[in-house]
């Protein structure tokens, strides 16, 4: 009697992990998926905020991928633990604030931990959709053994899409899987993956341009660094990282930043912060809700209101009425003249 072997697969929601799992399923391996939520993932949340995103992707791609594959998916909240990965990456950052190599090591390491904690479920090995040369930082020939070693996975880490280019792993040596039925993809081209997707009949799969998270995005990374610089510390909370995805960010003074909603969806989202933060609302005209992050002094209210008024419908008016709400205080009513385009200094834009 042959025993059925079992693997846990890192599912990002992208095509590569989808294919890697299917390749293993074809070899009779029973697979369950694991997805790590760092807080920076491209998945979810933004669609809940912006109006314009409402019609777009309403699905969580990791869940979608699991459903296509007919596998269970465990989503793990790693927000707290991930801070150390982002703040102190041993292998450094990629083009932006993305610590991809440390991130991969961390996630594979968490999968190793999962296997140990769920011994009763009998997982034998780990699968990832990594492809040599696919990503400039984390997926290079030299980094593949680093991930295997530093994560503690060693020879139970299988990359079905490029296994033929790598040393044989335990599941291959033990005969649980057939090396010949895996692949030798390499380089940045997506063609082999697309052809395999076609073969398996996968359509509509997600193909995020940069990477699996916001940290590969220049704009997002700039805002994150600005936040750290302004605070003089690299601490962050979940609210901080969410707020970096919302609104237009303008910093007229080092001590405070204005987060100006870009549409009704974002205004509504910022509403939820009214009790904790100073907020600015134009009342004489239509205009976005603005949240103030940082320390704003009363003498800067006029400046802040002037900037905010620039983004409302009364931008050309002589005067607009603005309400400033400071938590625990009476609303301050101000009548101010909106700043001109020139007065909103280019350098204030984060």
């Amino acid at each position: 009697m042959t025993t059925k072997h079992k693997a846990i697969a890192l599912i990002s929601g992208g095509l590569d992990s989808l294919l890697a799992v299917r390749v293993m399923q074809e070899q009779g391996i029973e697979v369950e998926g694991i997805n790590f939520y760092t807080g920076f993932c491209v998945e979810g949340h933004t669609h809940a905020i912006r109006n314009s995103d409402k019609d777009k992707q309403k699905r969580n791609n990791a869940l979608w991928a699991a459903e296509q594959l007919g596998i269970k998916l465990h989503i793990v909240d790693v927000i707290e633990e991930y801070k150390d990965v982002l703040l102190n990456p041993k292998h450094g950052y990629g083009a932006n604030m993305n610590p991809c190599l440390d991130c991969k090591i961390f996630m594979v390491g968490k999968a190793v931990q999962w296997i140990q904690e769920n011994r009763k479920d009998g997982f034998d090995f780990i699968i990832t959709g990594e492809v040599i040369g696919q990503r400039p930082m984390s997926q290079r020939k030299q980094t593949m053994p680093i991930v295997a070693k530093e994560s503690g996975a060693e020879d139970i880490l299988v990359r079905p899409l490029c296994a033929k280019n790598l040393p044989a792993t335990k599941p291959e040596l033990e005969g649980w899987i057939d090396r010949e039925k895996m692949y030798d993809f390499s380089g940045r081209t997506r063609k082999p993956q697309m052809a395999l997707a076609e073969k398996y009949g996968f359509k509509d799969y997600a193909s995020p341009a940069g990477g699996c998270c916001f940290l590969t995005d220049k704009n997002y990374s700039d805002k994150l660094v600005d936040l750290w610089d302004a605070r003089g510390t690299r601490e962050y909370e979940m609210d901080d990282i969410m707020l970096l995805k919302v609104g237009r960010h303008i910093r007229p003074k080092p001590e405070f930043k204005l987060i100006i909603a870009r549409d009704a969806g974002e205004s509504k989202y910022l509403e939820g912060y009214r009790k904790q933060f100073v907020t600015i609302q134009i009342v004489s005209h239509n205009g976005p809700l603005t949240m103030v992050d940082g320390d704003i002094k009363p003498e800067d209210f006029e400046l802040a209101a002037g900037v905010v008024a620039r983004y409302g419908q009364g931008r050309e008016a002589e005067q607009v009425e603005v309400h400033i709400s400071v938590p625990g205080q009476d609303v301050k009513i101000m009548n101010i003249k909106p700043l001109t385009v020139e007065q909103v200094n280019e350098e204030w834009h984060v």
């Binding site: 939520y37 979810g44 699905r59 969580n60 269970k72 998916l73 989503i75 909240d77």
Partner: protein
């Protein structure tokens, strides 16, 4: 069989799914869990999660900006 409630208001996806998943681990087959959330994305994510993991969505209700999704724990 017992009824439970989970407050996932103001959480953005996938947090409501993660919280639901973790709560369901503490429950037994047949238990009912009402998840109250405000992210409309939960309406597609929680049912997708339930289908994958063998749970049943008994229904959902929305009033104002809140959404209650009823999950019955499967085997």
């Amino acid at each position: 069989m017992s009824q439970h409630e989970l407050d996932a208001r103001r959480m953005l996806c996938p947090m409501p799914v993660i919280k639901t998943q973790n709560k369901v681990k503490e429950l037994v087959v047949g238990d009912i869990l009402n998840v109250i959330c405000t992210d409309p994305g939960a309406l597609s994510d929680i049912p997708a999660w339930a289908r994958i993991n063998g749970h049943t969505i008994l229904g959902h209700q929305s009033n104002d900006d809140e959404l209650t999704i009823t999950v019955q724990v499967g085997g």
